[in-house]
Subunit: 526 residues, 2 copies
């Protein structure tokens, strides 16, 4: 029997509060430190290792975290979720993004269909469509091949797919499976669509309009922007545009599109990279096989996440440690630092995934919480970040827990050896060095050069960035965020906090303003 | 007489702590709110308005902030800085980036020369060089024009120049002053250089190697990477590469470069966009006139920053309010949210500028501080952010103070009208709506749809993103960070916190490791 309880009603949480803190400087120094690195490590999916030696935990704390996982029924809640319970209680919806990449449990029926079969069917339809575009069976009106794909979407219809595209773009070029360049239009700022269109051969471009509801202001505005550009070139927009939407949206089954592919209300925008939202653009850009491999990686991590013992479940352990850092140690923000240029926009995607899912002040029953929930999340790739905000991370007055991601091999395997090491070795040496520098610090009599250490981090180490590892990495963070939502007892799958701004913006555009809003409208000369 | 005192030794700071807090929901509602928006506004440089109506201040608090500015001698310290005092005490250096764009005070002599004349001379040399490249007087070995410029640099040699380039790229294309595409290589990850080189016609590319010290690991590694690529094409690297460095660096006066342009130790990396570091790439990309206009905008804001009364000095007021939020209200992070796609990487630059400058735990005398200093800073352009992390900003358990930036006109002036409004109007309506939504909130019996409000923000409103306004915006934040450094009594111009990681990385590469570091090296298979 599942019980949804607030974190501070769990006895293991109070045990955690009382547990003696770990001094990382001490724990990570000398041979003890070496032992920790060997011991505090768990295998993830697709060759990943999650190493948490430099987190402020010890056997005692880990045993309490394990109790907390049991008491909060993390595995049972995940099971309920993938078996089709209404976990998104606010919107009274199932939460089915895992089904886009695998059948984790029972057959889930909704809207009168087997949802796994529904998602598979959409994947197949997308694959067929992409194959026909690549083979030249589907072309523009002149019978010429499409050479570019442009995704029009915002938020989850933009950040995830864009981050995944950028992560695999150069890999696909190297592998010889790069079919089409992808571009993205998201912002309602007209400069966004203008600049993308100015650099795009629209006569040979296929546009994907992505909006689950079919009512997103930015996306419909940018659709009109693009249609305008196509018409100016004497082209029929209906021959250049496909839709990804829900079957109940105004965009579904419309003659305005060459074809349409469907998702549904059980896939939140920020969890939609493995649905048709990511599927259409990634399959067109790299081919359906690459997208299938990406799904396979995610499915493999989802299976890992079913493991009940957090010491064998990286996503769950990561979630538990994060809650310990947030609610016991009191750290208000966290940074994700991938040592891979391919993952340049991965932190921006995680920023939405994490902050939109768990940036909540009430529990799933609408009761105000008396503890903090989701942290501020930010990040940039290393080593770039080292020359930017790491100063504050090392010597600032607040401690920021860190999540490193590293890969043994570079993605393109094109390297030079300088001063006895390759660039890839330098990259990896840097991330190893940072972990130890943050944890152990270094005493110096010149206080300006003194490093206090005791700054916790973990690292996910993979072989290289490829479709499988990318899928696994994405699923790791999706499942981590889900487990944290369970721990905080919030609904991680709605986003009521975005509504008020939308309502007020409509008032401004309708001229229906007074007070401060009216004055801001004047200031901006709207 | 200047006295460098800790913030918590100033009587006005304690007065500030005791002052009654402002309830923004109340203050920003109804006609009172409208009056605040009209009243709490100050003109900045180049047509900017800084509006702080939605910050948690009132006349009483503003009067104390004014006292704090006087007691902390903000104007006098700025005066000393631009007149050539050794304000960077840790490294015993002058701080002269303001001189790259104007003479704010006395003639500053250092290294036996008038530094303003030195920076002007470098600008002129760069302008001449860029003109010759554009006219075809300087070409590749075959006498063909260069078509692309590639900046090799990291941190301040990358983030600022890259953000400025992206901010003006489309503007320059529209204005007809776009000379060359610019690209950037920064990360030591070999995938970074590989991907840039793979998409670059190196035979027609000119590379700018940027490193003040001439010893930056990433930059020298990427130089070797690029030289390798040039040699493979049978090209002479010395005919394709220029350097931007200090005159004392190993890169200066070298035959390996077509030419070299100089900065010096008085320009910190994160303050170098207006020096040769930004000058070379921006002048080559857009022409020297555009770079001169950018400097003019920055110089105009620097003049504004000399104003002693913070109510007439946007950068100083912004700094004071930020310290109030950080040290009295206790907010640990802050977001910068530009409603302009052109400013897509501006927050990433500010992240370095702010976090590297003021992420310090000791004062300028090396004494440990008993109060917090620089916050975590992050941001993405609106309206994109609205569909991402704004959920947490509206309904999360921590309050994050916000800094909006908005423009009355779009940059490209290419727009469509849909449902009675242009995209630019929608963009501006959204930022106006967000400010009011954050400040006032909205009561709802359904607690999941309830907005508590009381979330402070300010907005900088400009006409459009062009070279002058970009320069002014950059200088606003540079000067804000400087004033905050004065208030916190930290040295904002060194970055000792980046050293330990570098040292340990070298140990890993030399195989000179033990303990945890050795195990991490194994884990990453270095």
């Amino acid at each position: 029997m599942i019980e949804w309880k607030n974190l501070d009603t769990l006895s293991s949480f109070h045990e955690l509060e009382k547990a003696e803190r770990v001094n990382l400087v001490d724990a990570m120094s000398g041979e003890k430190g070496a032992e920790r690195v060997k011991k505090y490590s768990v295998d993830g999916a697709c060759g990943f290792t999650y190493n948490y030696a430099a987190k402020a935990v010890d056997d005692r704390i880990l045993s309490i975290l394990k109790k907390l996982a049991e008491e909060a029924q993390l595995s049972e809640k995940f099971e309920d979720l993938y078996n089709g319970d209404v976990v998104n209680t606010g919107e009274k919806r199932l939460v089915l993004h895992h089904l886009t990449r695998g059948q984790l449990g029972k057959t889930v029926m909704a809207d009168g269909v087997d949802k796994r079969a529904f998602y598979l069917d959409q994947q197949k339809r997308i694959a067929d469509f992409a194959d026909k575009v690549h083979s030249g069976e589907i072309t523009n009106a002149k019978g010429e091949k499409f050479t570019t794909v442009v995704q029009i979407g915002i938020g989850g219809s933009d950040l995830g797919p864009r981050a995944m595209y950028l992560a695999l773009e150069n890999w696909a070029k190297k592998q010889g499976c790069f079919h089409m360049e992808a571009k993205f239009i998201s912002n309602v700022d007209p400069d966004d669509a203008s600049q993308v269109l100015a650099s795009t051969d629209v006569a040979h471009a296929i546009f994907i309009l992505v909006s689950k509801s079919g009512t997103t202001l930015e996306t419909l505005t940018n659709q009109a922007f693009v249609m305008d550009a196509l018409k100016k070139e004497g082209l029929d927009p209906a021959k250049h545009m496909i839709a990804v939407t829900s079957e109940t949206s105004p965009l579904a089954h419309s003659k305005d599109f060459l074809d349409a592919f469907y998702m549904d209300d059980y896939i939140g925008g920020r969890y939609s990279s493995t649905s048709a939202v990511g599927g259409a653009v990634l399959s067109l850009a790299f081919g359906p096989d690459v997208f299938a491999r990406f799904l396979k990686g995610a499915a493999e991590e989802d299976e890992k996440s079913k493991e009940k013992d957090p010491l064998k479940n990286p996503a769950m352990l990561d979630a538990l440690i994060g809650v310990y850092e947030r609610n016991v140690l009191g750290y208000p923000s966290t940074a994700v630092l991938p040592y891979s240029q391919a993952l340049i926009r991965f932190p921006a995607h995680l920023q939405q995934l994490d902050m939109e899912s768990n940036g909540k002040s009430v529990n799933r029953f609408g009761e105000r919480l008396s503890y903090v929930t989701g942290p501020v999340l930010f990040g940039e790739p290393g080593t770039n970040g080292q020359h930017s905000f790491y100063q504050l991370l090392h010597q600032g007055t607040n401690i920021v827990p860190l999540q490193f991601v590293g890969f043994k091999k570079s993605q393109l395997q094109n390297d030079v050896e300088i001063q006895g090491s390759t660039s890839q070795q330098k990259l990896c040496a840097n991330v190893a060095a940072q972990i130890v520098a943050f944890a152990c610090g270094k005493k110096d009599e010149n206080t300006n050069k003194n490093f206090e250490g005791n700054r916790p981090s973990s690292i996910l180490v993979g072989e290289e960035v490829n479709p499988e590892t990318l899928g696994a990495l994405l699923a790791h963070f999706e499942n981590k965020v889900m487990f944290q939502g369970f721990l905080w007892n919030v609904n991680s799958f709605d986003q009521e906090g975005v509504q008020l701004g939308k309502t007020l913006a409509k008032k401004v555009l309708a001229g229906d303003t007074d007070g401060a809003l009216s004055e801001y409208a004047k200031l901006l000369e709207i």
